[in-house]
């Protein structure tokens, strides 16, 4: 038997490697994350190099943006000054609204949902394939990070933590089809589930046919499921494809986060 294996070494190597791959694949369909310790081990080894590469890239980009690419800066300055004035006016209105909210909150004895305990993490790597959407960040279990914590930016929900090693974590982005978030339409309070797609849009599932939604409606997290806190922005409705049959609407959501430009994210430590 051993002689035969040695004689047909390439074939037996192929058989062994293909079998190992198939076993790994089949195990994962039954048990979620059975290879977590292997992933942690790889993250620990690759972390310093990944961090160095990310830092080099960041510095190169900074030099490019700050010293080389200065075309249209003057026009942009004028535009930004105008925008600051508009935002200043809007800010004043919001301050008034916030004060009113604080008063009403005390009267109604509501709990504060905006005070999230977050950790700032830098993106040091992205998915190596075209078939999944993950990022690697420079914070891990030594910073109090655990699997299944929400990850956000000021724009909205980014995703949640998947695998965590002492100094790095893998984040499953909301744009990955494996990621589902319980959601509500902010205006109408209709509920559904937002799921990532391989396109640039999310899909909102289980939104009933009679829901009074329009394009441009904001979609926020409902807090159901326990991973993503309530009230975080997911995106806005881009398209509603009304079907004559079926119970639910077919709705495309434009993500609030630009995933291709993610540099820093916040990991929410309290759920």
């Amino acid at each position: 038997m051993i002689k035969l294996l040695i004689r047909y070494k390439p074939i037996s190597t192929l058989f062994f490697l293909v079998s190992t791959s198939l076993i790994l694949l089949s195990v994962q369909t039954k048990i979620p994350n059975p290879t977590d310790s292997v992933q942690k081990f790889v993250f620990v080894g690759i972390y310093p190099f990944q961090l160095a590469a990310a830092n080099t890239l960041r510095k190169a980009y900074h030099i490019w943006k700050s010293y080389i690419y200065l075309v249209n800066v003057e026009q942009e300055n004028v535009r930004l000054r105008e925008q600051i004035q508009i935002l200043q006016m809007e800010k004043n209105e919001y301050v008034e609204t916030a004060l009113a909210y604080e008063r009403l909150k005390n009267i109604l004895n509501l709990t504060d949902v905006t005070s999230l305990n977050t950790v700032l993490a830098r993106v040091i790597g992205r998915d190596s394939t075209n078939w999944a959407s993950t990022i690697l960040v420079d914070k891990g279990s030594s910073h109090g990070i655990e699997p299944n914590l929400a990850v956000i930016t000021h724009e909205g929900i980014v995703g949640y933590t998947m695998s965590v090693s002492p100094r790095a974590s893998k984040i499953l982005l909301a744009s990955d089809p494996s990621c589902s978030i319980a959601a509500i339409i902010q205006r109408t309070r209709d509920q559904g589930v937002v799921q990532g797609q391989l396109t640039n849009y999310y899909k909102m599932k289980y939104l009933i046919q009679g829901a009074d939604v329009i394009e441009g409606d904001m979609v926020i997290s409902s807090g159901l499921g326990g991973v993503i806190p309530k009230g975080l922005v997911i995106g806005k409705i881009a398209r509603i494809n009304k079907k004559s049959d079926g119970l639910f609407l077919d709705v495309d959501i434009e993500p609030s986060v630009n995933f291709s430009k993610l540099e820093e994210v916040f990991i929410v430590k309290n759920k």
Binding site: A53, A54, S128, T129, Q197
Partner: protein, 165 residues
Amino acid sequence: MYFVFVIVLSLFALILQTAFFSVIQIKGAKPDLILIILTYLSLLKGAEAGSIFGFSFGLLQDVLSGMFLGSNALTKTLLGFTLGSIGKKLYVSSLLQMIFVFVVTFVNETLLSGLTLMLKAYSTQEVITHWIRVTPTESIYNSFLCPFIVLLLRFGERNFGLPQQ
């Protein structure tokens, strides 16, 4: 020594792929540098080396992505073996390398799309649309990057041991 050079180069390629090339995607497609190295190595060093390299670095790629562990390992093992089996019979010129990388990328993405369809909850239409959007661009991207990687590998061959074939 050449073996160590290839491993270091492949690890560097993998880090470059996740840190650099993911930022400069073309039409949503990022290149697969490991696939280029795999194509070159398999054609020159044979089926066994090709399948072992494909499995090891495919597995590493799986760890650094959201794919099921074993997806890239499986497709790259099969490709490494196939290329290694036919490669010895061919004269491997630079142009032929580029054509091989183009075709291999097509095959690899098709195999991955099949696996994705089987293992994840994607619709067939979604996978086909994504395949059409990403695969041709990635194939061209990989072919374009191929001469640079091959240049590095040949530099390694000249300086770290194994004679060029």
